[in-house]
């Protein structure tokens, strides 16, 4: 379907799509300050939606709210039509929202296969039914082999993740995401601390995983945002500064000012 003539139309198609993830008036009050202050966000199904903004804009807090790791002080979060406000992280994960973390995306001492098996167990919602796991475990083990093979890690299945080279760690993260088969994928700075070559590879990996899913991305690297994101929301001081396509957002004077940190930027 996406031949090059239609590719330019994707944002419009995406705009017409229903929202996969919605935040309404979302707020988080920490002692003394509001890290997230009344954020409205609508992430269209099938889109890649980037959250950008200077440090302290509330991006990570917003991520933690969306994935249930912290409870909002006010507001509502919807997954499709379903209200997921206040659910535990594992419940939200089982409903089809997978998230990555800024640095620690893997279990250092677990083998690659165990990573994928864990994700499969979590997704099946049977993480606790260890006693009736025989049949399921075999099913999972086979599926795990498949997933590892699909990212080229079949040879590394029994090796602790810690000992994998950098590129293979990234591949294992991808296998984890695929194992969860999420509807919505929340990626927290997937290219943080990477060199140019790894950035390119990661952009390519995300391009592969996004097929049939919705991706929300916190990202500092504007080249990554430009090549992946259909929509961009700029946050500042816990509030939405502006939302739009990359090109319009990039040239907005408010955004330029926010990034340069000019004092009159905040209105």
């Amino acid at each position: 379907m996406p031949d090059s003539a239609e590719a330019a139309d994707i944002p419009q198609a995406v705009l017409a799509a229903p929202a996969a993830l919605t935040a309404r008036g979302l707020a988080k009050q920490f002692r003394g300050f509001r890290a997230v202050d009344g954020v409205d966000l609508s992430v269209a199904e099938g889109s890649v939606h980037a959250l950008v903004g200077p440090n302290g804009a509330g991006k990570t807090t917003l991520f933690n709210l969306l994935s249930g790791f912290i409870a909002p002080s006010a507001g509502q979060i919807l997954l499709g039509d379903r209200d997921i406000t206040g659910l535990a992280p594992e419940q939200i994960a089982r409903l089809g929202v997978a998230r990555s973390f800024q640095i620690t995306n893997l279990f250092p001492m677990l083998t690659a296969r165990e990573h994928v098996e864990l994700a499969l167990a979590g997704r099946a919602g049977q993480g606790f039914m260890f006693w009736r796991s025989d049949r399921l475990l075999i099913e999972h083990a086979d599926r795990a082999e498949e997933l590892l093979a699909s990212v080229g890690l079949e040879h590394a299945a029994t090796v602790p993740a810690d000992t994998l080279p950098y590129g293979q760690k990234r591949a294992l993260e991808l296998a984890l995401a695929l194992a969860l088969d999420p509807k919505v994928l929340l990626l927290d700075e997937p290219t943080a601390g990477m060199g140019a070559e790894d950035v390119d590879r990661t952009v390519e990996l995300i391009g592969r995983v996004r097929a049939g899913r919705t991706v929300v991305l916190v990202e500092h690297n504007m080249n990554v945002v430009a090549s992946l994101a259909d929509r961009v929301t700029v946050l500042q001081l816990g509030q939405v500064l502006i939302e739009g396509e990359y090109a319009e957002v990039r040239d907005d004077p408010q955004v330029v000012a926010a990034y340069l940190g000019e004092p009159d930027a905040a209105h």
Binding site: A98, T104, E117
Partner: protein, 290 residues
């Protein structure tokens, strides 16, 4: 030569107790990030439990070996739900204080009820007498304790390494948040793991009853050494706890033989040396500490 091998054997037996206690501490620390200062008190309760079951209800050693650890595991789970759980969101210091206070309360409660005198507990008839190990005669009961401790350690390792619940516990120990993000309810496992660790302490206590003095301070005397074992093995490392447990047992036994005057402080000298050489312990990983 015979003396040395016999002392090494004593060391292995003593190490078995250290290993079982350190194993429980390590599992609890890994899953809850709680250093359980009350661990020694539960070891003492294990021994007292066996003693009371025998004197009050005529329950023999073998049944006590089953009943006491299970009973204490249940007590541990109740404690986790009622107290420990409420404090996990706060500074870890609150749980240090809680378990430390608990240790003092349990120890003094037993002391006020049963006094400070050691209680006699005889070996089970089946394990009376001694066994010829080729080089020397060795008490049957001690051989039993050593084999039992080894079996327990290997069994725990197999559960952690081979089963799904073990995989989940290892995952939650390393990265609790990532585990939850994969859809696994980590909270469900916290209470059983705490109970399991307490049960292991109780098991060690029952095993200790026939060969060590059953008295209220028996846990407090031992637990300091167990903390040294956990630190030497590497905080949070289950493998390290077991290996260091047996190793320290042997170091203590050899210390008794060659430098009896220093045998009490030998463990701590060793701990200082290990920490200077490897600040995270023999099998610890830097990340575990952060």
């Amino acid at each position: 030569m015979v003396d040395v091998t016999q002392q090494l054997f004593n060391g292995l037996v003593g190490g078995g107790f250290l290993a079982m206690l350190a194993l429980g501490l390590a599992v609890i620390f890994g899953m809850l990030r709680v250093v359980n200062f009350a661990h020694g008190a539960f070891y003492m309760l294990g021994a007292f439990g066996a003693y009371l079951l025998l004197t009050e209800a005529g329950v023999n050693f073998w049944l006590a070996l089953l009943i006491v650890p299970v009973g204490l595991a249940v007590v541990g789970m109740v404690l986790e739900r009622a107290f420990v759980h409420r404090l996990t969101r706060l500074d870890p210091l609150y749980n240090f204080l809680l378990t430390f206070g608990l240790a003092l309360i349990l120890q003094d409660a037993v002391k006020s009820q049963y006094g400070t005198q050691s209680k006699p507990y005889s070996r089970p008839a089946l394990l009376d007498g001694s066994l010829n190990l080729g080089l020397f005669e060795y008490p049957r009961y001690q051989v039993f304790v050593l084999v039992f401790a080894l079996v327990v350690c290997v069994a725990v390792w197999l559960v952690l390494a081979r089963t799904r619940v073990g995989m989940i516990i290892r995952a939650a120990t390393e990265r609790p948040e990532l585990t939850r993000a994969l859809g696994i309810d980590v909270g469900r496992w916290v209470t059983p793991v705490f109970g399991f660790g307490i049960g292991l302490a109780g098991l060690a206590g029952v095993l200790a009853a026939p060969m060590r003095a059953v008295h209220p301070a028996m846990g407090a005397d031992l637990i300091i050494t167990v903390f040294a074992v956990v630190v030497i093995g590497g905080l949070g490392s289950i493998f390290g706890a077991v290996v260091a447990g047996f190793a320290i047992g042997m170091v203590q036994a050899l210390g008794n033989l060659y430098v009896p005057a220093a045998s009490q402080i030998l463990v701590f000298i060793l701990m200082a040396v290990v920490l200077l050489w490897r600040p995270t312990g023999l099998f610890g990983r830097e990340e575990v500490l952060t």
